[in-house]
Symmetry: D2
Subunit: 368 residues, 4 copies
């Protein structure tokens, strides 16, 4: 109820603080009998981890994951899987100068008012570092969804600050530090980030995530619509201020005659819906976009108050990402995977194991 | 788990279908001792109900609410409040012609694949009619939040199709059929809708909702962030395809030096955050916007397939809103109220009854 | 969270008060496609309803159930099933004399202290009348479990006051007003109850319930053990003060060499476990017993205090069961069915639709 | 949903296996600002840990607890508290001989059928070793309840096999290896256990637990009655087969005139109810008893089958408690504390921080 558990049937309980001894999570509800080892999880953590390019925070965390329970002789047992990631490069002293003052745009103020105390070590629990265990849990979900349904996840940055990043191909995403599905514009992005860093400022970004091979019928009719749960999962990622499904805010100016995706014997003719109708998956690709705000911890001084309510000024010198959006792609993929995993199990509970396999409408329709 | 219950501590369980005998909800967890009668709830239902202008569906439903339990001698008892709304103007035959064919953009197809059957009566459970009980439950939440904290809710349409609606003042919202905070542009909107209706098409809209007098400290740190739960609640409203908090998608091109709302002894100097930092309310106004897609049920024919997978064509003749966004404002207000109500109780559970009252930062800071 | 919802995946939300306009429940999570009508539910309600013999309360309630939603053309749709039972024979004035005084053994006092107010109409929400909707929901669960797995439920009274009731055969249960699996001792029970009623007193009872044809593997390892959930369900029935599984309190004096049920190629050789090992069903019959306290509302005067804390005396004249245990058998069966239904769906979610069918160990073992 | 989380608002998620690298739990929802360190938790773990007398298993586990998160500068922060206990004395080879055969009375069989695999290391997840993290979490709950309300917990063994243990005084409990509230009968118990161990058999026990200083008003009316949740918590402890509240199974033969606890201006005159009426606490002591079955792992050979369904025989040679009931007292106290903690927070959520303090009815009544 205090919001550290994600999911209903594939439940991930997250713990730890950015600068405590360790972070981690407990996954309850994983189906038994799936082959699982650290090697299935580490690659996803490596995609998210800090210090991999000059454009992200230089905190050096290997983010090595350890499975403490729930796997026996290489197979999941159906009981809780505890993932542990020890923190290595804490530097609480970096935060000494902001102990008493509230950083604009940061959770300092709201945490202090809610709990009556402050854990200033790297933002404590409000740090984006707590997404690491979710990326780990997401890797478990991804493995099961891929083996069971052929469902896969991918994402890319589509805008950095005012620079739009044209989509050129998914194969480019792994070849640049921005998760851009693009190769021609990378130099411009590098120069942009270099200038930004030099200026001591930060910037926002837009990320798109997709799921392919999605079973038909996932999602509940009224409140736990698949799109509602995706919005919940993505808006819950640090710094996200907007979520779109399919055509997103573009629908405001659309006509019904244009928006509704026509069905043909060969499948849907378009995907304005983003893969869901009435909150339930159609078997098309799930498509969502998020807006990520600029990092609040910047070197540029800003006006604020201190705990006594007096005028103060803040500039932050710790190690921070100048664009938190850069590392957000694997996080958003993981959260999307966790939502689909949970709904896959929910579907099985009520409707039985009839979640339809990855099939084109074309193939399914004749026989249905 | 099948998604008919909203909230964790102020739990609203919704039931009914658009064309069944009745719709309603059961509210569990309402604090005891609050004065409550149908008269507190009916006005909100009247704002949402159909048939109030020529621009919305002509289905004639009085939406009269009846309290079946949970109130004794005019006071809530702390036990479940059942709200019942009898359907009056069902016309299942209106839907006869679409029994076998899937309407593009509509939940027909996904429901059929999920459950293996169809309830075509007005979309059955996927109908926006099921928001009525939520507006009723929202009225209960609004009453408690107002009496306890002075918290209030308001909303308006900010765009209809390609027409932006400039904000002129909240007092205008009740004086036009569009929930526009505007008086100068109403004629243009009327003409726009008349033309649209004549064309047999539909259109999208953008709605803004706000909460004022919000206690500080509502929301949980990791997953049940207040903004994540608002995104969940609003994205779950029928036809919503995008949700923004505060500056929303505008943050993508913002700099950190611009985005972070500075604190002064007199309060925050701006509200890019939309009233939350780290997912926890700051005491500023909560501000969110949603994008609503055009109605899928239109007279304009569209290509589709039937249950046998054969090519077909659909045009819908029932009574439908040409812009579902028009009646969405009171719904979005209600859902926002339900989220805040739930978090107010959650906050009490963990942190005690110290949810800070409606106070300016200015007033609070010196004494804190 | 306020305790009006039972179950996790087959969720039953109960509402209403004993002397309000109606009672009922909303069932969310029922699998789609099951034939269901009021005729499937009414017989179970008839077994529980008051006024059927001189040994139970003379309140005259037909307990006619109405399905308001979730069924279309005779089949469950997968969406919430609302069951409504209108109260017919309320007589709030019966309770006038106890408005200000607390009945010993009754929830008057604790409700008043919890909520700060009293609804004295028949105990309001604390009345055993609220079990009626659960019996209704149980009938839905029983139907699904029987059709899917051949699982069935039965129960009987095994002791009334100090009179033990020897088990003679399940076929007798329907032929006497006590739900006794006995025919030779009925006259004695009748005489016992007649004398008790005349004396203005009440008495306790012991009830046994069983499930047969139970799938193997239901229940969770740690907290939601099947036996823990059965204990929760049965202890939650009004007036229950003890729950036993299998050998129950008899295990205290047993040796391990005696208790552990041996396995043979033809099945288990005994059932001390009551059908569960480690909280997970074994496929044997589930067996549980409950102790039900004597009714608190009696004509015999008892000492008490009033709301001002002054000495007072209470005798109750409303219509009450002199032994609430008499009508408890169908209630306990229903609650047991609801627990198994919920766990059947939970099992499907995590382990797939491999809940093993009703099979003897004998049949299963060779092929496993 | 897979049953590894206990509680709704004070949520404890348990992980680990008896012979894996570590066991532990994550506590979410602990109120912020409470002083907490390992020193508050370790003493309770020491009461439960194995190897402390010759009458319990000789497995040597220090059960040293480590707080990984949720505490900063000695105070709880309101975020998840992860407790880690590393296993030290695993000896998986002890279990080699039972890999293929099912031990009568043990969860071997049901786990294998549920999950399709076996983790034979000390019963894996079904081991009573998993109660250690709950005792740790219980210590956190106990501290808060004591500081906030003066609420305390205690328990004792009241029967060992066929030997009843007369209650002489709570002060004796800490002075013997049986948690007996007795000093005169200890020698007899020692001799009894010595003979039992020699015989290679095991025996059951009866335990009583109590809470004192309980706030009035805890518990929900219908399903989450305080007694129902206590039954759930206690029946969920390994090997428990029966739960009684207050007069327990004794109520079957009681008259209403005898059972109902009379109220006087000086408080209740008796406590047949065990401290709850209508499922809600009255402020009297909470009293519950449990029946614990004899340990299933014994040296005495028993008939069984193997995975091929063939006749087999089992005798267990690992290190086991000859009476698991001996170490059950601190476990039962912890589970009772976790139930009350959860309900204390639930009460605050709905009714505000008015949970009445530890007061005699006598003191409260005049002013109420």
């Amino acid at each position: 109820m205090s919001g550290s558990t994600f999911g209903e049937l594939f439940r991930v309980t997250n713990f730890g603080e950015s600068h405590g001894p360790a972070i981690g999570c407990v996954i309850d509800g994983c189906p038994p009998g799936m082959a699982l080892s650290e090697a299935d999880i580490q690659p996803e953590l490596d995609r998210r981890r800090p210090g991999t390019s000059r454009h992200v925070t230089q905190r050096n965390e290997p983010d090595t994951v350890e499975i403490l329970s729930g796997v026996y002789e290489g197979l999941t047992t159906g009981t809780p899987i505890c993932l542990l990631i020890k923190n290595q490069d804490q530097r609480s002293k970096d935060y000494g100068n902001i102990l008493d003052t509230f950083r604009p745009g940061h959770a300092d103020y709201s945490y202090w008012r809610k709990y009556g105390l402050r854990d200033p070590r790297g933002g404590g629990r409000s740090s984006a570092r707590l997404t690491a265990p979710m990326v780990g849990a997401g890797a478990v979900a991804r493995k099961w969804l891929k083996e069971k349904y052929g469902c896969e996840f991918r994402g890319c940055m589509t805008q950095l600050g005012e620079l739009e990043i044209p989509f050129e191909g998914w194969q480019h995403v792994a070849n640049n530090p921005f998760f851009a599905a693009n190769t021609s514009k990378i130099e411009e992005l590098e120069a942009y980030m270099d200038a930004l860093r030099k200026s001591g400022d930060s910037v926002g970004a837009r990320i798109r995530v997709e799921a392919t091979g999605v079973p038909v019928g996932l999602g509940e009719p009224l409140f736990d619509k698949l799109d509602a749960d995706i919005a919940y999962a993505l808006m819950g990622i640090n710094a996200v201020k907007g979520v779109e499904i399919g055509a997103g805010f573009g629908v405001v100016a659309q006509r019904g005659s244009e928006h509704g995706d026509e069905l043909t014997p060969l499948g849907f003719a378009s995907n304005n819906s983003g893969g869901m109708l009435g909150g339930i998956s159609t078997g098309q690709d799930i498509v969502a976009s998020i807006a990520i705000k600029p990092t609040s911890s910047i070197r540029t001084p800003k006006a604020s108050i201190n705990r006594a309510g007096e005028v103060s000024s803040v500039e932050t010198f710790g190690r921070h990402d100048p664009c938190v959006g850069i590392r957000a792609t694997p996080i958003a993929e993981a959260m999307l995977a966790l939502v689909l995993m949970d709904h896959a199990l929910r579907h099985r509970a009520q409707c039985g194991d009839v979640v339809l396999p990855i099939e084109a409408i074309a193939a399914a329709a004749p026989g249905v």
